[in-house]
């Protein structure tokens, strides 16, 4: 029987894209309030894992199961997953020309909450979230990610996360391309969401973990989690790289 606090349970997951196996037997459980970090070389399957959890149609689950809030995910489409409280911060957020950020946020929040939004309350909530992330209000009239710098895109992702208040936050290299100040601000946003959510952070760098304290650090190599440890594992990876894990994989 599942624990009440269980958010995500992945059992023996195998995933292919166009016939090529990417994830080869991955298991992972994330409970409410936990921060899990996945590190690994390029091409290990980290982003694929985030995409497949969110339901990207390009990926095929060939074996294994994903349970979200103790329910199988397989039958849920992408937007149903979002409405059920899942959130993916994209590694490369997409530009939507002509769609203003303010309009987009309102539609998104309205869809996820499935109830009419009261204008004044929404504006206050939005102002508070933007203030947390030190964002200028002019961003609301700009088009979604159009002409945004790398840092602006990542901040907008975190703003969406704060507004959507997810139960499961998947952050795919959200720290990439951020300067130190932006990194601290983004970490503030993540820490604000975590107490009520489970969080999976995909990253290449230890530096984000100076601001976000993970409960578990997993090393993913060739579509599998080969090693799991605490925050100290991230420091070790930063110092030694991944070669030492290849030769002594955890059974």
């Amino acid at each position: 029987m599942a624990k009440v606090s269980e958010i995500l349970r992945i059992e023996n997951l195998h995933v292919s894209v166009e016939g090529t196996a990417i994830i080869k037997g991955l298991s992972l459980t994330i409970n409410q309030g936990e921060i899990h970090v996945i590190m690994g070389r390029n091409g290990a399957g980290k982003s694929t894992l985030a995409s497949v959890i969110m339901g990207h149609p390009a990926y095929e689950i060939t074996e294994g199961e994903i349970h979200y809030l103790s329910q199988p995910l397989e039958q849920l489409s992408v937007f149903e997953r979002a409405r059920a409280g899942m959130f993916l911060s994209f590694q490369y957020p997409v530009v939507i020309p002509g769609v203003q950020v303010g309009t987009f946020l309102k539609k998104s929040v309205q869809s996820v909450r499935d109830e009419p939004i009261k204008g004044r309350a929404f504006r206050k909530e939005l102002n508070d979230a933007m203030s947390t992330l030190d964002m200028d209000k002019t961003v609301l009239s700009r088009y979604v990610n159009d002409g945004f710098s790398g840092g602006e895109k990542k901040r907008l992702e975190i703003l969406q996360m704060l507004m959507l208040n997810p139960k499961l936050a998947l952050l795919d290299e959200t720290d990439s391309g951020l300067d130190i100040d932006a990194l601290r601000i983004v970490a503030k946003g993540i820490n604000q969401v975590v107490p009520q959510a489970g969080c999976l952070i995909i990253t290449h760098y230890q530096r984000l973990l100076d601001h976000v304290k993970p409960d578990y650090v997993h090393v993913m190599i060739d579509g599998q989690i080969l090693l799991t440890g605490g925050p100290e594992l991230a420091h070790k990876l930063e110092d030694k790289g991944y070669d030492w894990i290849d030769v002594t994989p955890e059974a």
């Binding site: 969110m54 339901g55 990207h56 149609p57 489409s77 992408v78 937007f79 997953r81 979002a82 409405r83 959130f87 993916l88 994209f90 957020p93 997409v94 530009v95 939507i96 020309p97 002509g98 769609v99 987009f104 539609k107 998104s108 929040v109 869809s111 996820v112 088009y143 979604v144 969406q160 959507l164």
Partner: protein, 346 residues
């Protein structure tokens, strides 16, 4: 030249290749039918008077034909009491026709709304922007879904003046638009944005000519066409830069969004650059809705239809982004949003 004496244009002619004259003519091509004048009304900010100045810059068949139809010739004078002037035209009957002239002597924005149930409508608009004036003209084609529509425009922009033209094509069944602007003096500038929503079996043809007749002039043209169902959008551009028009800067961008397998869109920019020291570029692209955009929006809780509708609206709105006149952008965008909310049944 009389219409009856004119040779009918062949499809080899760039202007008539995609919408032959006989397909946009209201009856059989040898006839000039009796037309009912388009009825105009104005809210505030100006007045309408009878008569138009001689503005015969072009003697092509469409303009000659429109001049021979029975239509009221109306000039709009703007008095500056309103930041934006709305002019409403209603076309009714078997064939409706109008002739409208606007001279801009002061900074103003005029939005022309053309609606009505006429089987056929023809409209010729002319105008000029006097020196150092900033003018905006919006045109919203809100005609009935069964109306054939022929529209010609001729604009002159004088020294250090700026003209912004925003055109939203959401009505009419078969529409031929021939829009020409002459940049006649140093420092004159044109920004022209056109958005087309093709749905059902709409056939929308835009021919846009921009003539840089002197140097130190600039133009920027954006045409965005979103085509659904069995609709067909054609955009042909003719950009000319005269031999003496050095230091001119011209850009033309045509984008088509194809929303169904049976929709079609053509974008054919054409450049005639005779001067040496100019900047002139053009680009054209047609594509379906980007699946990554759909996935991104759906990952934020929007259903497939809602995500698609938002992308279409954004695509069409984006055509107007390069305009400077906020009033003009807001008016056109509001009308577009209302149209799409009805059309896409969100």
């Amino acid at each position: 030249m009389k219409y009856s004496k004119m040779e009918l244009p062949s499809r080899a002619d760039h202007l008539w290749r995609y919408t032959p004259w006989k397909r946009i003519h209201p009856t059989s091509v040898e006839q000039v039918p009796k037309a009912i004048p388009i009825r105009w009304s104005l809210n505030e900010g100006g007045s309408l008077s009878d008569g138009v100045p001689d503005h015969s810059m072009n003697d092509d068949i469409a303009r000659i034909f429109l001049s021979e139809l029975r239509s009221e010739k109306v000039s709009l004078s703007v008095d500056g009491s309103a930041s934006i002037v709305h002019l409403h035209g209603v076309a009714s009957g078997h064939a409706a026709a109008g002739r409208l002239h606007i001279d801009f002597h002061q900074d103003t924005t005029v939005v022309i709304h053309l609606s009505g149930e006429a089987d056929w409508a023809g409209l010729h608009i002319t105008g000029s922007v006097q020196a150092n004036v900033r003018a905006g003209v919006g045109f919203v084609n809100e005609l009935s879904a069964n109306t054939k529509f022929l529209r010609c425009e001729d604009w002159i922009v004088e020294r250090d003046a700026r003209l912004e033209l925003a055109s939203l094509s959401i009505g009419g069944f078969r529409c031929k638009n021939d829009l020409r602007t002459r940049l006649n003096a140093t420092g004159s500038s044109l920004k022209q944005a056109i958005s087309v929503h093709g749905h059902n079996q709409r056939h929308v043809d835009h021919h846009i000519e921009i003539h840089h007749n002197v140097g130190h002039t600039d133009s920027d043209l954006h045409v965005h066409a979103a085509c659904n169902d069995q609709s067909h959008s054609i955009s042909t551009g003719l950009l000319t830069i005269a031999e003496s028009a050095n230091q001119s800067d011209a850009s033309q961008v045509f984008k088509n969004l194809l929303l169904s397998e049976r929709s079609r869109a053509e974008a054919i920019p054409e450049l005639e650059v005779l001067a040496d020291d100019v900047s002139a570029n053009h680009g054209a692209a047609s594509s379906p809705v980007d699946p990554d955009q759909i996935h991104y929006l759906m990952s934020r809780g929007l259903g497939l239809e809602e995500a698609t509708a938002l992308i279409i609206e954004g695509f069409m709105q984006d055509g107007f982004s390069m305009l400077k006149s906020k009033e003009l952008i807001d008016e056109i965008r509001t009308r577009l949003t209302v149209h799409l909310e009805c059309e896409l049944k969100r």
